[in-house]
Structures are given as C-alpha cells and as structure tokens.
Symmetry: C2
Subunit: 178 residues, 2 copies
C-alpha cells in the first residue's frame, strides 16, 4: 500500500513536472500511474483481509477507517479524472472548472494516504512493543520510526514540487512554437 | 496539544480570511494566536514529561519523534515570522521573498501536527486495546476513531480555505480606497 498510494502516486502527481512531451502524453502517464497505484492499494487491502477472521474483524482501528476513506476517495478521483479529462464529448469549460478541485482533492487524498501509512506503522509497532515481541528501544523500532519520518519528508517534498509555480516559458518561445 | 497546534493554530492560519480590518491588525492577531498555540503545545509536552521516568523514557515512539520535529518547526516558524514581518529595519523585498516559504512551511507544520495527533490517538488506543483495558469494538474506540476522522476533515477544510484564491476586489474600489 505504501508502494502504491505513496511512491507510485507521488510519481504520478509529479508527472506534469518531470516528464517532457505533450500535455496528452503527460495526462496518459498520470492516469496509468494512478491506476497502477490504485491497483497496488486494492491488492494490499485484499491480502490484508485474507485472514481467518474475515473482512469485518480487522476493521476496527483508525488506520483501517482512514484507509477505507482514502481508497474510496482515490477511486472516485481516478474515475472523475478519467471522465473529465478523457471523455471526448466533454466541454472544455467544465474541465477547466473541475481542475482546481481535482488538484486539491488529489493532494488531500495523497496527504490522507500518508497519515494512514503513519498510523499503520505506529499501530503495528505499538502492538508488538506492548506484547513484548520487540523492545521499545531497538533497531526494529528505530527503522520503523525512520521510515515514518522519511515518508513525512517525502510527502512534503512531493506537495511542495506539485504546488510550486512553474517556470515561465519566455513569450517569444511560445510564439515561435505556435 | 490538539487545542494548541490544531484548533488555535487553525484559527490563526485563517485570520487573514475571516478577520476584517487592516493588514497590520491581521498580522498581530495571527502572531498572537500562533504564540498562544505554541505555548499550549509546549505546556502539553511539559505535562507529559512530568512522569517518574523522566523525559527520555517516553521518547521512543514515532509520535514523540514527529511531535518534537513539529514543535521545533513551529517555534522556528514563529521566530522567523516574527523577525520577517515585525522587524522595523526589514527590507520589503526580503519579506515578500520569505512569504511563500512562510505559508508553505506553516501549512506543512500544521499538516505534521495533524499526523502527530492521529498517531497519538492511535498509539494510546492500540496500547489500551492490546492490554485489554478497552474492547476493540466499544464506544471509547468509536469516539477516538471519530475524533481522528474529524481532525482529518478539519485539517482539509482549513488548508482548502487557506490556499483557495481570495475574492477579487473590483479595481475601482481599490482606486477609491487609495
């Protein structure tokens, strides 16, 4: 789920920044990567709910509640993005009006995925520490905490790059390219 | 800490939106409210570390690590904000250059405070559930989970209002007010 919703989705968010080429190419790659991220996330949840207790038994913690909301929002975003940007009959003004909401809700879902990941890491660690399976001050705990801080840092960097203003292309260059 | 770093700090972020009056008044209220939020947060940490075990004994979890980073960033932001916006000898161009970073790092710190709060709620609940003090499916668990979701929703609303474009004042009105 971390690979899908944070690493791949983060790359998909930044496609519009690092990928050279036409807008259509960028949109296609963004849509494909987000689709892959969604598939990874859904696969992660599916494997998690394969235990003997069934689906509902594991669904009690804040981590699982937030995770469900996150996956639902991600799926809805992907669908709305698909419909808004790829439907041939779509009016341009509608797409332009939807775009800021798509960007905000996309980044919000990404942030929620980060929060869900952090709570997941902490839940597992607290569970193991309370059961006495690992020590509070051990290499395992430090690695999990380090991963948590790394994810928070990565998330900040992705959102900073996503919201920072784009470099202005000189006007003469735009005119020539037209 | 939730009152300081999330509720009061959230209001402080939105002062520039809801408070009528001059820019100077808004800045003063923003600075005072953020100072109050910082004081609340530091007081919360101080009470937490009054146990018999001392400061370092409680400092092992991802929640505590993130909390320390959050308080440090909050304090640094407050200081830089104070110096940049209130120092009389400050050059205007420097203040203008610092502003976008102040806004981004401020919202990032607010987001980090939200993540820290969520991990804190989940840590305490997992601890109590694993020890068998409360049931996994109980009113207490549902209230804590509901509080966690409420905080995530509040955070999203605050950030949305903070980053949404301001209403344009008609040009004629600006000219008259000058």
């Amino acid at each position: 789920m971390v690979i899908g919703f944070i690493l791949i989705s983060g790359e998909a968010i930044l496609v519009h920044r690092w990928l050279p080429g036409s807008r259509n190419l960028k949109k296609s790659v963004h849509l494909c990567l987000q689709g892959l991220a969604l598939a990874c996330g859904v696969f992660g949840i599916w494997t998690k709910f394969q235990g003997q207790d069934g689906v509902v038994a594991n669904f009690y913690s804040l981590h699982s509640w937030m995770g469900l909301i996150c996956v639902s929002m991600f799926g809805a975003q992907w669908l709305v993005g698909f419909l808004s940007f790829w439907h041939k009959g779509e009016v341009r003004t509608t797409r332009v009006r939807v775009l800021p909401w798509h960007v905000f809700l996309g980044l919000y879902t990404y942030g929620l995925a980060l929060v869900t990941a952090e709570t997941g890491l902490l839940e597992k660690l607290t569970f193991l520490q309370t059961k006495g399976n690992i020590l509070k001050r051990s290499t395992e705990s430090a690695i999990v905490n380090g991963l948590g801080l790394g994810l928070a840092l990565l998330g900040g960097a992705v959102i900073l790059v996503a919201v920072s203003p784009k470099h202005q292309i000189p006007k003469s260059k735009i005119m020539y390219s037209k």
